[in-house]
């Protein structure tokens, strides 16, 4: 699967971020994207083939697999990575819009198109809130669908056409569980980074506005 576009997006975003934002990009890139591509994808590669039920009834394995894994862990992981990286596009677009406007009017409209103030600050804060929302949303989805990050060795299935309650065995459950915990931990780390960036920006700009108002009052 070609993740090149996400890599380019993240390196583009890096330019317009604060320091904490750059740490976030590094964490997403190395501990989530790289681990996904290099390790996780291969673990889940043959999950359907290796899912074995203790029965010869045709169709039973398919139906049971579909019942216990409506959306595969790995697909959820990939979706999460994409959704969490996308809000940064808002910032990229806004900066491009500013630069375009300056070119169109042929004069310096902003202190610097990349400087985070005014409209760009709002966009940046919205992108942070969206990122946090998506992270929490996906973690909640994982919990709802799979009851946490536990992967059982054995599931009992009795959906037609399985004739009665059948034992089905999941392949590599321990390895999957370890990587799912890794995914959960990095998600939480990213949420913490985003929250601290949010508070840092809000704090910094409230202080700036307060000081501006204070000096204006005294003039």
């Amino acid at each position: 699967m070609s993740w090149g576009f996400l890599r380019d997006l993240l390196s583009g975003v890096n330019k317009y971020s604060t320091a904490i934002g750059r740490i976030w990009v590094a964490v997403v890139f190395i501990f989530r994207l790289l681990v996904y591509i290099v390790a996780a994808e291969n673990i889940w590669k043959y999950e359907h083939d290796e899912f074995e039920c203790s029965i010869r009834q045709p169709g039973c394995e398919n139906v049971c697999f579909d019942h216990f894994f409506p959306v595969s862990h790995i697909s959820l992981w990939a979706l999460q990575l994409i959704m969490v990286s996308t809000p940064s596009l808002l910032v990229v677009f806004h900066v491009a819009y500013r630069e375009n406007r300056e070119k169109h009017h042929n004069q310096k409209l902003y202190k610097s198109p990349r400087h985070i103030d005014g409209g760009l600050l709002c966009t940046y804060l919205i992108s942070l809130i969206l990122k946090i929302g998506f992270e929490i949303g996906f973690l909640a989805l994982f919990y709802k669908l799979y009851n946490g990050f536990k992967v059982p060795r054995l599931v009992k299935c009795d959906i037609t056409p399985c004739p009665n309650t059948v034992d089905c065995y999941i392949s590599k459950p321990t390895e999957k569980m370890i990587f799912l915990y890794f995914l959960g931990a990095t998600s939480c780390l990213c949420i913490v980074l985003n929250l601290s960036e949010l508070s840092y920006l809000i704090f910094k700009y409230s202080i700036k506005r307060y000081l501006k108002r204070y000096t204006k009052k005294h003039q």
């Binding site: 190395i30 290796e50 074995e52 034992d167 390895e175």
Partner: protein, 222 residues
């Protein structure tokens, strides 16, 4: 497998490393990442398909495989490489911060040669020395931790030909046969040896940096 970007980042770090650091990077790329990508994938590719147990009981093979290989060797090596390469990022970030400071000075009107700014090489002194030394320390720690985890999880570095498995639903003690055990043992020992070499290079670099700083101190005080 997309190691290209890690390569790009580490290549950037290369400029600001000591000579031992450059040797370490070369060893990392050629003997570890390339070998992992080219050879290990081929050898471990069919590990579960060709793991055969002497029973027709459905599910027994899955359970036995999971019991004896909680994490596959190649995944552990991939994680080890990622963790061992990450401290170099600290150095890259510190250098980027210094470069940013110089750019700011230039923008504020001080006279700095633009060409010099582009190709500036930061010498490992002061705060950068601390960042660099702690990154090497963390590298050594991560290498050691992963080598220990390997040893602990797999009871040594040899891949057995046959494992005896008794986990449910296997009806009784079942013989299970691992695919390509000799080839896997060879690669495991190779990767272990290269890890050891990398660790020694890191230790040597650490000693070199410490000695360099200690030699400079008396000169400054006299």
């Amino acid at each position: 497998i997309d190691w290209g970007t890690l390569q790009a980042v580490l290549g950037g770090v290369n400029k600001h490393s000591t000579s031992i650091g450059k040797i370490w990077l070369t060893v990392l790329f050629i003997f570890r990442i390339m070998i992992l990508v080219v050879a290990a994938e081929r050898v471990w590719g069919d590990e579960q398909d060709d793991f055969i147990c002497n029973t027709l009981q459905p599910g027994c093979r899955n359970v036995c495989y999971d019991h004896f290989f909680p994490i596959s060797h190649i995944r552990l090596w991939a994680l080890q490489l990622i963790f061992v390469s990450t401290p170099a990022l600290l150095v890259a970030m510190h250098v980027a911060y210094r470069r940013h400071e110089k750019k700011r000075q230039f923008r504020n009107g001080e006279k700095i040669n633009i060409e010099e700014l582009k190709n500036v090489k930061f010498h490992i002194r002061g705060p950068l020395w601390w960042t660099y030394t702690s990154s090497i320390f963390f590298r050594i720690v991560f290498e050691a931790v992963f080598m220990y985890v390997f040893y602990y999880m797999y009871d040594g570095y040899q891949m057995p030909r046959l494992v005896k498995c008794n986990a449910w639903p296997c009806p009784n003690i079942v013989d299970c046969f691992v695919s390509r055990p000799t080839e896997k043992t060879t690669f495991t020992i190779f990767m272990l040896a290269v890890s050891g070499i990398c660790m020694m290079l890191n230790l040597a670099e650490l000693c070199y940096l410490v000695i360099k700083i200690c030699m400079k101190e008396p000169k400054r005080t006299t």
